[in-house]
């Protein structure tokens, strides 16, 4: 009996070991380790290599963005020069020589295919000698600050209705933003953001009670927690991020509060069957809400329309003008990029869908041809939506008829104003991912030339036509109700 128990135990151990081995074989590679380096010359992020259970980094890659570097391999020796500082390293040795002085490194120098690798914690010893100034290294978060670089931020919730978290940064920022129910996550990889006094920020608000700050793997993550779905937008040329309740929720939050004034856009909410069920504003009336997306922005300049004119600037100017026109017609409007910030196509789609607009208008500009071109989505074949989950690449499918309705309305208004208009379908994201009527508007200059793209008169003419078209489409969009 005892023997059989021992054997059974032995077998269980064997099976456990087998499962562990199998999970090792099947496991996906772990997240790539990175180190972020911030300096006045450049902010950048590099891959970290695992050698002998230690973090290593290529010294040449660390210093290359900061000055002139050369490296030469001579047998097991590696001669390196940064600006006017010479150094010599030996493979497998901890002792190096920098500007004629011996330096002891915490781990062996490695030479791989002519690439000199130093342990990550060696950088605090080596960099001051190369750069002639202090460095601060947050080892656990792998964030290295060269000199006096930092971006500070303040965060406070104002008492507007609904409450809004305003985060002001001392320099422009461009985080990756992800939203999930009750949370907005912002990941900063290229900004030398320094931690606030406390890792957890608490606010006197039931809608946005707290935010947390975390540093890891060369990045800073700020998570804003809310009791309702949240929505982030940029302004002040990327120096301000505003987090507020997503528009539909905003209307509900406002309706629950005693103040009758609604100062955020209310929206209609599309259903999967492409009919429109209006949300109810504080006044109880159905509402009609538009998202205007100024394409490109930040690092992504778009087309160079001329030596001086970038597409990103023209799209922003038209988007702001269109918002003004729409609001003068009583249509609540949200400009998705209201500043010079980089937003990915997925972020644009996420932000637009989270706002549940009736219409999504994406503004582009071009120097070819004249007039305005309207683009509808080119939907790929296939794509299967399951239950409440829509296929990302074909999410627009259910709204194709609504998109065509808006397009027809825009054509009519543009033609009334003698603006030449052409309609096409295009493989243009994020149109396919939008769960609302979606049209891309590409504005080309009038006959007078490219500089007219910036003329207030032309902007007024085009945006007035688009705004009137959006207003005119309302009746047809709401007709199925």
């Amino acid at each position: 009996m005892a023997v059989s128990r021992i054997r059974a135990g032995f077998l269980v151990m064997l099976i456990t070991a087998l499962v562990l081995c199998a999970s090792l074989l099947l496991s996906a590679p772990s997240e790539q380790k990175r180190v972020s380096i911030y300096s006045t010359a450049a902010n950048y992020s590099l891959s970290v290599l695992d050698r002998d259970h230690r973090d290593y980094v290529s010294l040449l890659e660390v210093l290359e963005p900061l000055g002139t570097v050369t490296a030469k391999t001579d047998g097991s020796r590696w001669r390196f020069r940064y600006n006017k500082v010479d150094a010599e390293f030996s493979a497998g040795k901890t002792r190096a020589r920098v500007q004629g002085h011996d330096v002891d490194l915490p781990a062996n120098f490695l030479l791989e295919n002519g690439r000199g690798l130093v342990a990550l914690d060696s950088l605090t010893i080596l960099l001051p000698r190369f750069l002639g100034g202090p460095v601060t290294f947050n080892v656990s978060a792998r964030r290295l600050f060269i000199g006096n670089v930092s971006v500070h931020f303040t965060a406070q919730v104002n008492k507007a209705n609904p409450p809004t978290l305003v985060m002001d940064f001392s320099s422009p920022v461009n985080p990756m933003i992800a939203t999930e129910p009750g949370k907005v996550r912002m990941v900063f990889t290229h900004e030398p953001i320094v931690p606030p006094s406390s890792q957890t920020l608490t606010f006197d608000s039931k809608t946005i009670p707290s935010a947390s700050y975390q540093e890891d793997n060369g990045a800073v993550e700020i998570t804003v927690n809310g009791s309702v779905p949240l929505f982030a937008s940029f302004s002040n040329d990327g120096r301000t991020i505003t987090v507020t309740a997503a528009p539909q929720t905003a209307a509900q939050v406002a309706a629950r509060t005693p103040q009758p004034q609604l100062n955020l856009p209310a929206i209609t909410s599309p259903t999967q069957s492409a009919t429109y069920l209006p949300s109810v504003s504080s006044g109880g009336a159905p509402t009609y809400f538009t998202v205007v997306d100024a394409s490109h922005g930040g690092e992504e300049r778009g087309a160079a329309l001329s030596d001086q004119i970038s597409e990103k600037d023209v799209t922003l100017a038209f988007a702001r003008k269109l918002r003004q026109e729409l609001e003068s017609h009583g249509v609540s409007t949200l400009v998705l990029r209201d500043g010079d910030a980089t937003l990915s196509l997925d972020q644009r789609a996420n932000l637009a869908n989270a706002a549940h607009p009736a219409i999504y208008i994406c503004i582009h500009a071009a120097s070819q041809e004249t007039g305005v071109r309207l683009y509808g989505p080119m939907l790929p074949a296939g794509g299967e939506s399951r239950g409440p989950f829509l296929d990302w690449d074909t999410a627009q499918s259910a709204f194709a008829a609504a998109s065509q309705t808006v397009e027809a309305s825009l054509i009519a208004e543009l033609q009334k104003r003698q603006i030449s208009v052409r309609t096409l379908i295009a493989p243009l994201r994020p149109l396919n991912n939008i769960t609302a009527a979606a049209v891309a508007v590409e504005i080309a200059p009038p006959e007078a030339g490219i500089s007219e793209l910036n003329s207030p008169g032309y902007q007024q003419l085009v945006t007035e036509a688009i705004a009137t078209g959006i207003v005119a489409a309302r009746e047809r969009l709401e007709a199925p109700r």
Binding site: S4, R7, A8, F10, L11, L14, I15, A17, L18, C21, A22, L24, L25, P29, L49, E112, N113, H296, E300, G302, A303, A304, E311, L345, H364, A366, S367, Q368, E369, R373, Y375, M378, L379, P380, A381, D393, R422, T423, L424, I425, A426, P427, L428, R429, N432, A440, E442
Partner: protein, 198 residues
């Protein structure tokens, strides 16, 4: 009582799993150390021989549409090689000084792969995308020109994927989406719409 053969079988499987783990571990380490090598494969000689008539769909910026243009070019026998030559001939037109739709001077189609059933993968070089002019229409013209030329002359192609330097790229030059596959039927519809919109 556990049968002896079960114990032996488990031990053998464990041994194999451990061996594979060690092998995988070593291979991963080796992969991370390997430097990318310069391409040293054979280069195909220029195609010569009898010519064949084909239809190239040439983008015209001024008209904002594609023009069907008959051409006679030497084509090899293989389907894949024919596809490559066809697109190289098309790009040859765009690299001409008087091209109605100029592309960057170093733009190239590196390879075309035909993958059954009906998928063509066009691999362009980095200059093709990096030097491409930015704009919805101008990028759309390039994409439709490639897809339409390929599908009109090589029967059986239903989907096309465009890669840049062997990798997937989000957009051609900021607008045309290259992340997905182009359905030949949708592109034909797009081309028909371009022609009728004039």
């Amino acid at each position: 009582m556990i049968p002896r053969h079960l114990v032996i079988g488990t031990i053998v499987m464990l041994g194999i799993a451990l061996g594979m783990s060690v092998y995988l571990w070593r291979m991963r380490g080796r992969v991370s150390r390997v430097e990318p090598a310069a391409y040293s494969g054979p280069i195909a000689p220029p195609v010569s021989g009898p010519t064949e008539q084909v239809t190239l769909y040439v983008a015209d910026d001024e008209l904002g549409m594609l023009r069907a243009q008959a051409a006679r070019i030497p084509l090899p026998a293989g389907r894949q090689e024919r596809a490559q030559e066809l697109l190289r001939a098309l790009l040859g037109l765009y690299l001409d000084k008087l091209s109605p739709h100029p592309l960057g001077a170093s733009a190239e189609v590196r390879d075309v792969y035909l993958v059954d059933p009906g998928l063509a993968v066009i691999d362009t070089n980095a200059a093709f995308a990096d030097d491409h002019r930015s704009g919805i229409l101008v990028e759309e013209l390039t994409v439709t020109s490639l897809v339409q030329t390929l599908s009109a002359n090589i029967p059986g192609i239903t989907r096309v994927k465009i890669l840049v330097d062997g990798k997937q790229r989000e957009t051609l030059a900021g607008h045309a989406d290259l992340s997905g596959f182009f359905d030949v039927s949708a592109v034909s519809q797009m081309v028909a719409q371009m022609q009728s919109a004039q």
